[in-house]
């Protein structure tokens, strides 16, 4: 079994290396990711970039200048879906501690970098990109400042060449105003929610850290190098995004004020279950929301039964920039369900194109990579895929072909192999 897997992955990597030719996709319905849709689309790929986006009725393009032509008639074309705030590649089997690399010990760890722990050979990754997810922001967990994330392409020999944008942002788990403790040594029993008595202390420390970082990075000479404070430089100068993880409304308000106080140029709330209550505040301060996993129960019994499902719609209506993510139980393996989160958002208020945007261009904007990816537009990376049906619906999501920067990627995975193996065993068709 192991042998087969090995051979396959070598093969897939080789093939993706070789496939850097020019491609023309014709026919098909293209969901551009920017809220628009083209029927009978024609999309040209050259040198890893999209060099043509038009329709079959137009004739201003030269079929012959492409080495390969793909007929996508009756099919759907999407920009590669982007999974923000993901632990993909940082874990293999959640319950096996040895396979987990997403959490470092300590509280304030801005200089922990996920990129170097990202395992391009994780068995989970091929099962995720099979559903159309081609980019991911690999994010640390734990502590108050968990560390620095990076954006990767879900195909690559090693983390170096998988990196799309290294060290894109720093992640803060906003101190809880109310908290809950584990009561036993086995970490199985949760106590009741209580007011977090540590909140003021934690906030003082967080603010001091940012004050220190500001002073440190502005100082002309540095007496001693401080790796933590260096890591925060990008947040203060606007080259990195500050991702603040919180769901509670009071914490969101505090977080926004923090961003204002430290004049942080790029910030987003991750989670934001209560964000619909403070849309005006978020909009005024240009703070986006990486919306908590939609497939969740409402927080309170009296909340609207479909409360979580319609959160994107509420943010859309209010004009807040948002995108979708899948943090939570079994998050890494479940990243492959990101398209269906968007599908649910479409069932509960968004238009289908807005829902596509919520996992493509919106995400790219929030992650600061929208200049080169996130939509099917001339000049952007040719990171896109073809599905035989609506990719937001599990009933029809069926990815036939996918390109990352123009390279056609392997859509096989171990699970498909096991399926075929046992189909053969039983002699099934």
């Amino acid at each position: 079994m192991k042998k087969i897997v090995l051979v396959l992955s070598v093969f897939s990597a080789l093939s993706s290396f070789a496939q850097n030719k020019s491609v023309l996709i014709t026919g098909g319905t293209a969901h551009l990711g920017n809220d628009s849709i083209i029927q009978n689309a024609v999309i040209g790929i050259k040198d890893g970039k999209i060099n043509l986006v038009t329709t079959t009725v137009a004739s201003n393009y030269d079929k012959n200048s492409y080495t390969e032509i793909i007929d996508a008639t009756g099919k759907q074309i999407y920009p590669g879906f982007i999974a923000p705030n993901s632990t993909l590649g940082l874990t293999e089997i959640e319950a096996v501690r040895a396979t987990n690399d997403f959490r470092e010990t300590g509280v304030s760890l801005p200089n922990m970098r996920t990129l170097i722990a990202y395992n391009t050979d994780s068995k989970l990754i091929p099962t995720v990109r099979t559903n159309g997810i081609l980019l991911a922001e690999i994010t640390p967990r734990g502590g108050i400042i968990s560390g620095t994330s990076s954006i990767v392409m879900l195909d690559g020999w090693n983390w170096e060449d998988a990196a799309y944008k290294a060290d894109d942002g720093i992640h803060i788990n906003w101190p809880r105003i109310v908290s809950r403790k584990l009561l036993d040594e086995d970490n199985l029993l949760w106590g009741p929610y209580e007011k977090n008595k540590e909140y003021n202390r934690q906030m003082t420390e967080l603010k001091k850290l940012f004050d220190d970082a500001k002073a440190y990075n502005e100082a002309e000479t540095k007496e001693e190098t401080n790796l933590r404070l260096e890591a925060l430089k990008g947040i203060l100068d606007g080259s990195k995004t500050l991702f603040i993880h919180t769901n509670e409304v009071k914490e969101i308000v505090e977080a926004v004020n923090f961003v204002k106080q430290y004049q942080i140029k790029k910030a987003a709330i991750v989670g934001g279950k209560d964000s619909w209550m403070v849309t005006q505040l978020l909009k005024e301060n240009n703070i986006a929301v990486v919306v908590a996993r939609l497939h969740a129960l409402p927080e309170h019994p009296e909340e609207d039964v479909d409360g979580p499902y319609k959160l994107p719609f509420l943010l859309q209506q209010a004009g807040v920039l948002y995108c979708l993510n899948n943090e939570g139980d079994m998050e890494a393996a479940g990243t492959r369900n990101l398209p269906f989160l968007a599908g649910t958002a479409a069932a509960y208020g968004l238009t289908k194109e807005q829902a596509v945007k919520a996992i493509t261009l919106n995400t790219a904007r929030i992650l600061g990579i929208d200049k080169t990816t996130g939509s099917i537009e001339t000049g952007k990376d040719a990171t896109l895929f073809i599905s035989t049906g609506d990719a937001l619906d599990m009933r029809t999501n069926n990815v036939e072909k996918a390109f990352i920067k123009g390279k056609s990627i392997d859509l096989n995975n171990d699970q498909k192999e096991l399926y075929l193996k046992y189909k053969n065993k039983y002699g099934l068709k």
Partner: protein, 1042 residues
């Protein structure tokens, strides 16, 4: 008139600030002396000369409330030796008795609290001997196996007088209480004791007055039980074991606990509950073992009156009304649940609700944070409708009868214990003062009724000032005076103590305070004395009554019954009141307004799951809970409450059935403390108020199998429920469903992921798991044979020697062997699946369903061969080692192999998207849409043996159907109606309306809370509460802490 005739009984005054200690000492000395007289301790040697008293005390001219039904005016009470000798209107005073004139005063029987721990110290937990699981009892000696069975605890042996606590209770008017040690599931016996300050020997009125029970294992450090369902099983098995023990003639086993348990049976049985549903659970146990418990309630009984009335149990209810929440901050207020808001408003109505429904109940001070709240809350309950007569009964005769001491306590009749209170009037009136509380003939002065009433208007003279007017008002005990001195109205402080009076005031033109002291001349309405002016000069003063005080009784307009909302069913968000709008006191549960006599859905696409497949543009007619007709065009029924739904463009499917769910379970899903917990039943702990029931309905789920967790190889018995939102737990159960039981394999049962300490409980490897099954099934087989032999043996054989011992655990496993109970087994990897199939082959049982079964595709042929079904996740994997090879093609492969395959949730969130999970089988493995829908409808119905009733849309089947806005397998499909038994339990239009109604109702109550806060009432800061959601491997230690 003030200045009544008086007898000074106790010399110490209540007002004497500096003499408090002295007063206590005097009271105590006196009390002890009288106690000796009242209930003498013959066997005790005397130090000094004996002091035996047989004084007759007479209480004359009183209004005597004999009990709630009889009041005597101008009556006299005689007591002697702590016993009432006579009470009536024509009582002759014997010569040589102490007479108290109680004109204008009222005597009530001393109150009885049937639920206290007075004078009994809390149990101390035994030290734990291990950091890991504690499988056995830590109690040394010939006791039973479980630490939570404390049948041998007798309160009368543990009872020690507690002066401060007794004093507190006496001040409230109580004279006797039931007390017990509040620890464990079986808590031994409680005793009725008097609240006097005397030697314990004279205080115990009934030694073994009641047997005490609860569901809380208390200080027990033993792991079992770790859940409510385990606690119930433990109690049931204890009843069986005690009965066996009683009849066992061999007595090979001596068991103090069972012996004691048997000796408790003749007593009144009191069961403490912490929720209305726990009261129903207790009653169910009672029914099984022919015990009618007295239920110690928790204050929310009004939320389920009909079911509680049907128990025919008596209740003891607390008056622990919750404090208002601080809801000024709108964000904070969002954290207060609808149930909390409504309970805050309705808690004071509980007693009234019970009274209205003729449910007998006693009232207790138990559960009050501060006993001082008692009268305030009782009066509040009266304001909310409780009659004074009922209140009195609930504090006197009812508890006395409950505890079999009605011949001694609870009324004022000759021969009864002299427990009574003297009040200024109607006990329940806010202004009423309790003067004295006599306990076993020992008086305790609470307020001095001899205090002279100085109120009135006086001619007042001091120093050079004459003809001043002094007006004294206020309460007798707290006087307020004013005098006009040189045209200036001046406040005057007045303190009375006995016949002494002191007056002080500061006139405007004086340079300081004038202090006057003096004497009240009894009967003359005059005060005279001397005083000191600010200059230090002494002066005479006097005050002569001109006009006496007349008490102006204000008509209290606020006394009318306050408004409170309606009880909603369930008592939660998205609950609804009964349509007749009469709130809680209804005899019969009515159906919700969404109940129609008939439902007709027109022009709808019907996914039949039958040979007909998907039918377009059909009409489906539903009545009396069944699908009656499916045809092209059915005329609208002409019945009163018929609902016609236009199904154009919509889809109708059978209701979704979740084969693996842990919603709607109270207090623990796992009794994983032993390798087998076959004796526990999820059916005992159904929580019909879980909001997740409503949420599942919104996702089209109509039936769920509630499974025990997967912590042990042989788990507990499952319950299959229909999601009849608003009904009581028992009404949720799927009628006549086959019994089932949860088994589990792999990492959970061998405790692989439970941390470093859980290495004790067997098994720890897959090897051990197999042997658990061999062991239990072998024993169950032998047990079954023994039981069958015993059943057919003669009466003589049955009573000789050791009788057959019923074992609930073995019984459940034997049921599997007898094909009366069917296994759903949590499983992942092929080796263990194969193993259990082999164990079954060799021991003669068959697994019904492998659940999760993520490697089922590797052994599909073996499963098919044996006819075993599969209930799987769509695409979960990689969360632990044993799901490494899980593939989303599993369901599809199994289905292709002819295995009956379902997709389940094991998750309250996913449960409401099971249609989407089923649709993944189309994506992964290319299943047809019809087959995919069957994964969550017909196939689970087959696995649960319910496919004759549900799972397809067919004439004659249960009308459990779902109307969808779109193709039910599409991510864009939304549920519009979920219908169970022909009743619409989820309606998307109603849902939107309910949200608005709920916001209105919340706003109304929140406004009320804000008003209370303004009025100075204490408030509690709300904190978000998260509901416990159960998955297979959830464990709990404090299962009663929810």
């Amino acid at each position: 008139m003030p200045f009544p005739f008086k007898i000074l009984f106790l010399t110490a005054s209540k007002r004497g600030v500096n003499t408090i200690d002295m007063k206590k000492i005097i009271t105590l000395m006196f009390a002890v002396a009288v106690a000796m007289a009242a209930r003498a301790q013959e066997t005790f040697p005397v130090n000094g000369t004996t002091n035996k008293l047989h004084t007759v005390y007479a209480f004359a001219n009183a209004t005597i409330v004999v009990n709630a039904d009889e009041t005597l005016k101008e009556a006299t009470l005689l007591i002697k030796d702590g016993i009432i000798t006579e009470a009536g209107t024509h009582v002759k005073l014997p010569k040589g008795c102490v007479v108290y004139d109680l004109k204008g005063k009222t005597i009530y029987p001393g109150l009885i609290d049937a639920y206290t721990t007075y004078g009994v110290a809390d149990a101390k937990p035994l030290p734990r001997t291990t950091a890991g699981p504690q499988m056995e009892s830590n109690v040394k000696g010939a006791y039973g196996w479980n630490q939570a069975i404390r049948a041998d605890a007798d309160a009368y042996k543990l009872f020690m007088i507690n002066g401060a606590a007794a004093d507190e209770m006496r001040k409230l008017g109580f004279g006797a209480v039931l007390t017990f040690q509040k620890d464990g599931i079986v808590r031994g016996s409680g005793a009725v004791v008097a609240l006097a300050d005397a030697k314990e020997n004279s205080l115990i009125i009934a030694d073994r007055a009641a047997a005490m029970f609860s569901f809380d294992k208390g200080t027990s450090t033993q792991d079992y039980p770790s859940s409510l369902t385990g606690a119930i099983a433990l109690l049931r098995q204890t009843y069986l074991d005690a009965n066996w023990y009683k009849n066992d003639k061999t007595k090979k086993e001596y068991n103090i606990s069972l012996d004691a348990f048997n000796s408790l049976q003749a007593l009144p049985q009191i069961f403490e509950t912490t929720d209305k549903f726990n009261a129903l659970r207790a009653d169910k146990i009672g029914d099984e073992f022919k015990v009618r418990y007295i239920i110690k309630g928790c204050g929310n009984e009004y939320q389920r009156l009909d079911e509680l009335k049907a128990t025919n149990c008596k209740f003891i209810i607390p008056l622990n009304f919750p404090s208002a929440f601080d809801v000024e901050d709108a964000y904070d207020a969002a954290n207060v649940s609808m149930a909390e808001l409504k309970h805050w408003e309705m808690a004071p109505v509980n007693a009234f609700a019970l009274e209205k429904n003729y449910i007998p109940f006693a009232i207790t001070t138990a559960d009050l944070k501060d006993k001082k709240e008692f009268w305030k809350n009782l009066r509040k309950a009266i304001q909310y409708g409780l009659s004074e007569q009922q209140a009195l009964k609930s504090l006197t005769t009812i508890p006395a009868e409950m505890l079999n001491v009605a011949d001694k306590l609870g009324s004022i009749k000759s021969g009864m214990i002299a427990n009574f209170i003297i009040t200024s009037g109607n006990l329940f009136d806010e202004k009423t003062i309790i003067y004295e509380n006599w306990v076993e003939g020992i008086p305790y002065k609470i307020n001095d009724y001899n205090l002279i009433d100085l109120r009135g208007t006086y001619d007042f003279t001091y120093g050079s000032k004459t003809n001043l007017q002094l007006k004294i008002e206020g309460e007798i005990e707290k006087l307020k005076g004013t005098a006009v001195i040189d045209t200036v109205k001046t406040n005057v402080n007045i303190t009375v103590s006995g016949n002494s009076v002191s007056i002080s005031f500061t006139p405007k033109d004086a340079n300081g305070t004038i202090r006057l002291s003096g004497n009240i001349t009894t009967g003359t309405s005059k005060m005279t004395g001397k005083g000191q002016l600010p200059s230090g000069e002494w002066t005479d003063w006097s005050a002569t009554l001109k006009t006496a005080f007349t008490n102006v009784v204000k008509k209290d307009s606020t006394k009318k019954q306050p408004e409170f909302g309606k009880v909603v069913y369930p008592f939660s968000a998205y609950g609804q009141p009964h349509p007749d709008d009469e709130g809680f006191f209804k005899d019969k549960i009515k159906e919700f307004k969404t109940r129609y006599d008939a439902v007709l859905i027109k022009h709808v696409t019907v996914w039949t799951n039958e040979a007909e497949g998907i039918l377009k543009n059909q009409d489906v007619y539903i009545t009396e809970g069944r699908i009656v007709r499916i045809a092209d065009d059915i005329n609208a029924p002409k019945m009163a409450y018929a609902k016609v739904i236009d199904g154009t463009g919509k889809h109708l499917t059978p209701g979704i059935i979740d084969e693996h769910s842990h919603i709607a379970i109270s207090s623990g899903v796992n009794e994983g403390t032993q390798a087998s917990s076959a004796e526990v039943r999820m059916g005992d702990v159904i929580n019909s108020e879980d909001i997740n029931i409503y949420r599942q309905l919104s996702g089209g789920v109509t039936t769920s199998q509630l499974l025990h967790g997967s912590a042990n190889p042989i788990g507990g018995q499952s319950a299959i429920i229909k999601l009849r939102w608003g009904k009581a737990p028992e009404e949720m159960k799927f009628d006549k469903a086959d019994g089932s039981i949860k088994f589990a394999l792999g990492e959970n049962v061998k405790q692989s992921n439970w941390g470093d300490f859980n290495t004790v409980r067997f098994p720890q490897s897959r090897m051990g798991v197999e042997q658990v099954y061999y062991d239990y099934f072998t024993r169950a087989k032998e047990y079954d044979a023994k039981q069958k032999a015993f059943a057919t043996s003669s009466e003589k054989e049955k009573t000789a020697g050791s009788p057959f011992r019923r074992d609930l655990e073995m019984e459940a496993i034997a049921e599997i062997l007898n094909k009366k109970r069917f296994i759903t087994c949590h499983s992942y990897v092929q080796s263990e699946i194969n193993m259990l199939m082999h164990v079954g082959d060799s021991l003669g049982f068959q697994v019904n369903t492998f659940t999760h079964i993520l490697e089922g595709y590797k052994v599909a042929d073996k499963m098919k061969e044996r006819g075993i079904g599969a209930s799987s996740f769509s695409d979960w994997w990689a969360y632990k080692m044993e799901v490494k090879d899980a593939i989303p093609y599993n369901a599809s492969l199994l289905n292709q192999m002819g295995v009956v395959t379902a997709i389940n949730s094991d998750d309250a969130e996913m449960g409401r998207r099971l249609n989407q999970e089923a649709a993944k089988a189309i994506k992964y493995g290319g299943m047809s849409e019809e087959d995919a829908l069957k994964l969550v409808t017909l196939n689970p119905a087959k696995l649960l043996h319910l496919d004759k009733k549900v799972g397809s849309i067919k004439v004659g089947k249960d009308a459990d159907v779902v109307l969808w806005s779109d193709n039910p397998l599409s991510v864009y499909a939304k549920v519009e109606k979920t219908i169970i038994d022909g009743i619409i339990y989820f309606d998307n239009e109603e849902d939107v309306k309910m949200r608005t109604d709920m916001q209105k109702e919340r706003a109304r109550i929140i406004q009320k809370m804000l008003d209370e806060k303004k009025g100075g009432a204490p408030v509690v800061k709300p904190v978000p509460k998260k509901q416990k959601l159960y998955k297979c491997d959830d464990l709990e230690k404090d299962y009663m802490q929810e």
